[in-house]
């Protein structure tokens, strides 16, 4: 079980506040969706939790330790960008990952890559956009970190890739022990997969709820809710 907490976190880019006074404790496990309009601070939130950026004030902690550059051991960050090394092959990418991430499940990475029909001898440079996304996710899942921060894993992908990505998460995430944070625009598609939802608007967390409980009491879809809270 992992405890991820933000206490009074403010993050600025120049003078612009990307996140304002965020105060919350994330669920200990399961899949949490982070939704909100463009530029609302979703990505900033994930980067703070994985320790890639630091808040101007307040603290982000994972199991009581403040997050920082070495938080990669607890929180894997999957970038929206093509953050794989171009010059490596698929197989080399796995070998490199197993060399730098403690606890990397090499076996699993090979299996996932095979399941998704990637050729280990192909250079990352020559992979299609969808296959890069598949490889990126396979490597991130195989890191087996208690927290996964997936930044827009579905955005810009065709339906087949999106299905593959969601299937990969559902099949290989240990929902009882891992916490998977996903930012997305594809709210409708993501909704059935969520245990928990955070809605960010203008740098503030405006909704922080369990999805089933939300449906039971409010009887509406996340899109409707999103529409209501972001006017």
């Amino acid at each position: 079980m992992t405890n991820v907490s933000c206490s009074n976190v403010t993050k600025k880019y120049g003078r612009k506040e990307a996140l304002r006074e965020v105060d919350l404790t994330l669920p200990e496990n399961g899949i949490a969706g982070i939704i909100g309009p463009n530029g609302s601070g979703k990505s900033t939130f994930l980067k703070l939790i994985s320790g890639l950026i630091r808040p101007e004030s307040g603290t982000v902690t994972i199991n009581g330790t403040e997050t920082g550059r070495k938080s990669g051991a607890e929180a894997a960050y999957l970038s929206e960008e093509d953050s794989l090394y171009d010059f490596m092959t698929v197989g080399k990418t796995i070998a490199f990952s197993s060399g730098v991430y403690p606890g990397f499940d090499r076996e699993l990475a090979h299996t996932l890559v095979e399941e998704m029909k990637l050729d280990e001898n192909d250079k990352v440079k020559h992979l299609s956009r969808g296959n890069k996304a598949r490889l990126k996710l396979a490597v991130t899942m195989a890191r087996k970190t208690p927290v996964l921060c997936l930044d827009e894993p579905l955005s810009g992908m065709d339906p087949l890739v999106r299905e593959d990505i969601l299937r990969l998460i559902v099949t290989h995430l240990d929902v009882e022990h891992q916490l998977c944070l996903i930012t997305s625009h594809e709210v409708k598609e993501l909704e059935p997969f969520l245990d928990h939802v955070l809605i960010i608007h203008d740098g503030r967390i405006v909704v922080d709820r369990n999805v089933e409980e939300l449906k039971e009491t409010e009887r509406k879809s996340l899109i409707d809710l999103l529409r209501e809270v972001t006017v």
Binding site: R69, A73, S83, L84, D86
Partner: protein, 262 residues
């Protein structure tokens, strides 16, 4: 962990190192051809090749650090849960090993070219060129050290500026550049001070005067004035190495605490 990182840096930099080596090989072909023809052009090209090695580390290191951002892999690189010094030294070491390879080739070509050059000269002239050759051989360690020292400091300076630019938005590189210049100004003043000499000029490792006497022994028409500072002391070596270690520690600390990917 470190070996994996080093291997990655090595492989990543191989294509550009290949290009650099290609340029040097062309240059060396030029030097050797010119030497065969006993053309002074060989000397000019030689100086140029040495000069390029002064900025070689700077080029290799800068491209390696800057490359993480250019290829949008900074997220991946900085999410690796290794201490900053491992990330930084893997890059520095990969670049430095390429520098060493290049220097070794330069040395081989340099001495070979001199021999070829000398063999093409008339006997009277040959004696003085052979003298020059032995001076160069005698002073080779000093020159190599000075060149490498300069290359390392220029390189570390630029890496510092790059990391500053990635730590502070917009003005980071200016702050980096100004503080690097300021530091090198202050440090070189200190380097030439009598305090520095009193503190660190102990334990002669390379005695320039003695070397000069050895290589020119007997020859009256070959006397050079040796600057007092041209000798190398163990104390000096130790403190400069310590400084380099300090700068690397600073860079590692910046990667861990200041650099933010964006």
């Amino acid at each position: 962990m470190w070996m994996t990182l080093w291997k990655k840096e090595w492989q990543e930099s191989l294509p550009r190192f290949g290009i650099v080596m290609g340029v040097f090989l062309l240059m060396y072909a030029g030097i050797l051809t010119a030497s065969f023809n006993t053309s002074a052009f060989a000397l000019l090209l030689g100086f140029f090749a040495v000069g390029l090695h002064l900025v070689l580390l700077l080029l290799l290191w800068a491209l390696s650090f800057h490359g993480e951002w250019r290829s949008r892999t900074q997220w991946t690189w900085l999410n690796i849960p290794a201490p900053g010094w491992k990330l930084v030294t893997a890059k520095l070491a990969a670049g430095f090993s390429q520098y060493v390879i290049s220097i070794a080739l330069l040395t081989a070509v340099g001495f070979l070219a001199m021999r070829i050059f000398a063999s093409g000269l008339e006997p009277q002239l040959r004696e003085s060129i052979e003298m020059m050759q032995s001076v160069l051989t005698g002073f080779f360690p000093l020159m190599l050290l000075a060149l490498t020292y300069g290359a390392v400091f220029l390189g570390l300076g630029l890496v510092f500026i790059i990391l500053m630019a990635r730590s502070v938005k917009k003005v980071g590189w200016v702050i980096g550049l100004v503080s690097a210049l300021l530091f090198s100004y202050v440090y070189s003043a200190f380097n030439q001070s009598s305090l520095y000499a009193a503190l660190f000029h102990h334990g002669v490792v390379f005695d320039a005067e003695q070397t000069m006497q050895n290589v020119t022994s007997g020859s009256m028409n070959f006397q050079l004035e040796i600057d007092q500072g041209a000798s190398i002391y163990a104390g000096q070596l130790a403190v400069e190495m310590l400084l380099i270690a300090g700068i690397i520690a600073l860079l590692s600390w910046m990667v861990d605490r200041f650099v933010q990917p964006s």
